[in-house]
């Protein structure tokens, strides 16, 4: 019986393999976007930094609040200046085009913003005549393009032309980011006199203001910029912190710095020379940090760029700043920015929405409310008004009842 089967079988297999050999083919195509840069000279870009007509919010980034004004970064494009006197009806007043801008801080009448590698001090005292007063060049040298687009001393990129492209390849090499342009970001910058009002940044900020100094973090360093003369920021010095530094948060003469490997506390007793007080290590993850009197709140999240496998909130006891200790961890979806107001903790949980916790007992956080259906990124809480940056715009909620947030307005798409 076996003979009956195997003889013809083997013949058939051999014949088919021989005949069809030329038909064996693995093909793969990859369709993706190529972004070709649009260059302009640095001089032209700087002269273009002025007040322009308000523009729609398309890709909101970092946010900064000063008085009744919101300063909202449009990623890599510039800054929206929004009159928020009435949070239920914010008015988009004007737009300041700043190519490559991702971070900002405001003190008094001076707006500090990054323009790729450079720090700009912008006079905003007259909304009809916004002017660049000073450029501190190469403050953020790590802000570079990769894959063939190298920073140039005289040219910067002001935009991108997007084009769909399909390529064929046979080795299924998904690791080939052919011609893709990857933009890395670090940033810094801000300013003013001692008595000038200082604004509030979100927890994802990489700029912060304290006394007469603007502190900015890049991937590895803490930059100290003297802003005793607000319109004339002067780079003071740089402190090596570690790897993959992400955020900076000021609290009581200390700077809480979040990195993907842990939290650093720097003292600004000598503001020109911040010194390391302590460090708390955690698993690899992205981690914005905020602090109050007794505790620091660190959100750890995963993501392609963050690595790691943890999505949680860590609460650290910082009563002894030199030896922070873990109080408790709480599992979350994909936490980003956070803010604390009184006993209430607000966490932007990425696609999980905005979550409000009763944090009177750090050992027993109680979830009060989840606002789903927004991809929340960062938040500032101020006077019962929660300003939430999400993927599709800026939401404002009345949180006088933390269990029942009421939407006041939305700016954006």
């Amino acid at each position: 019986m076996l003979k009956l089967i195997f003889k013809p079988c083997i013949y058939a297999a051999i014949v088919s393999l021989v005949l069809l050999q030329s038909c064996l083919k693995d093909t793969s195509s990859k369709t993706y976007n190529i972004f070709s840069p649009i260059y302009t000279t640095k001089a032209a870009a700087r002269s273009g930094v002025k007040n322009e007509a308000p523009q729609p919010v398309v890709s909101p980034g970092k946010i900064f609040v000063l008085g009744n004004y919101l300063f909202l970064n449009e990623v890599d494009k510039g800054i929206h200046v929004i009159d928020n006197s009435n949070p239920s009806n914010p008015i988009n007043k004007y737009f300041i085009p700043i190519p490559g801008n991702v971070d900002l801080a405001v003190k008094g009448n001076v707006l500090y913003a990054d323009m790729y590698r450079d720090l700009l001090a912008i006079d905003i005292s007259n909304p009809l005549n916004v002017q660049v007063k000073k450029v501190v060049e190469n403050t953020f040298p790590q802000r570079v393009y990769t894959n063939g687009f190298v920073g140039d001393t005289s040219l910067i990129i002001t935009g991108w032309v997007k084009k769909d492209t399909t390529i064929e390849y046979n080795n299924n090499n998904y690791y080939a980011f052919d011609n893709a342009v990857l933009l890395s970001s670090s940033s810094g910058g801000s300013s003013s006199s001692l008595n000038a009002p200082v604004g509030i940044a979100g927890s994802m900020a990489r700029f912060t203001l304290m006394n007469n100094y603007l502190y900015t973090v890049t991937n590895m360093e803490l930059n100290v910029i003297d802003i005793t003369q607000p319109m004339n920021p002067v780079f003071n010095n740089m402190v090596q912190v570690g790897w993959r530094i992400e955020t900076i948060y000021p609290f009581k003469n200390n700077l809480f710095i979040g990195s993907s490997t842990g939290m650093f506390i720097y003292s600004t007793t000598d503001p020109a020379h911040p010194s390391l007080v302590s460090q708390f290590s955690h698993v690899t993850a992205c981690d914005p940090v905020i602090a109050d009197g007794d505790n620091a709140y660190v959100t750890l999240r995963t993501g392609t760029t963050c690595a790691g496998s943890v999505n949680q909130l860590d609460i650290l006891n910082i009563q002894d700043l030199q030896a922070p200790t873990l109080v408790k961890s709480y599992l979350l979806s994909n936490p980003h920015g956070l803010s604390k107001s009184g006993n209430h903790l607000f966490i932007c949980d990425g696609a999980g929405g905005l979550k409000v916790f009763d944090a009177s007992d750090a050992n027993n956080l109680q979830l009060l409310q989840t606002i789903a259906n927004i991809n929340a990124y960062d938040i500032i809480t101020l006077n019962n008004n929660a300003i939430v940056v999400a993927a599709d715009g800026v939401y404002q909620y009345d949180y006088s009842n933390p269990s029942g947030l009421v939407l006041r307005s939305k700016i954006g798409l």
């Binding site: 089967i5 069809l20 083919k25 195509s29 993706y32 991702v102 046979n170 933009l183 992400e246 940056v389």
Partner: protein
């Protein structure tokens, strides 16, 4: 030669049509393991086709696992035509349907990706030996195509502290043309 072959096929068709009218409809299940031979590598696949046999015709639906290059699950309609009577038969078959991606955690595209069904078909020739209890052993070789369509959001920013980024989508469309050699049981 080709005229002779055509004549035999036509005669066989007339003969089987006559047989079809006489024969009963019976459930049949064809289960096989396969060696998949492709341009760059070889792999295994398993398959089960279930349907009804009437005379020399079989029609049914099938599914299985295909581990060539990208793990997939085909779902298809199957048609098979036997030639000659007796315990030993030749047959031709065709399968046509769609192919679903089954992502593994080790796949590069595992995170942030979605897939759409791709085309799946196979044409082949086989040989089968029928035993007494109506079961049979079959062997076949065919030409097979499977398509895989995937969409991936690679999350482009290198640094983690970026605001929400605009969607950047990569679309992958792969086609694998292989020879599949199958050995299986018909019950």
């Amino acid at each position: 030669m080709k005229y002779i072959l055509c004549s035999i096929l036509i005669c066989q068709c007339f003969y089987s049509t006559a047989q079809l009218q006489k024969s009963k409809l019976v459930f049949s299940s064809i289960n096989n393991v396969a060696l998949v031979v492709g341009e760059t590598k070889n792999a295994f696949a398993v398959q089960s086709k279930n349907g009804f046999q009437k005379g020399t015709w079989f029609a049914g639906i099938g599914s299985g696992f295909d581990f060539y290059e990208k793990r997939t699950i085909p779902l298809f309609l199957a048609l098979q035509k036997d030639f000659f009577n007796g315990p030993k038969k030749l047959f031709v078959y065709t399968d046509a349907g769609i192919n679903f991606r089954w992502l593994q955690s080790t796949d590069y595209l595992y995170k942030n990706s979605t897939s759409k069904p791709g085309l799946y078909y196979e044409l082949g020739l086989g040989f089968k030996v029928k035993f007494k209890n109506n079961t049979g052993l079959n062997f076949s070789a065919g030409y097979n195509l499977k398509q895989v369509k995937e969409t991936y959001n690679p999350f482009w920013y290198i640094f983690p502290v970026q605001p929400p980024n605009p969607e950047v989508i990569e679309k992958y469309n792969s086609s694998f043309r292989r020879v599949i050699i199958r050995l299986g049981l018909t019950i």
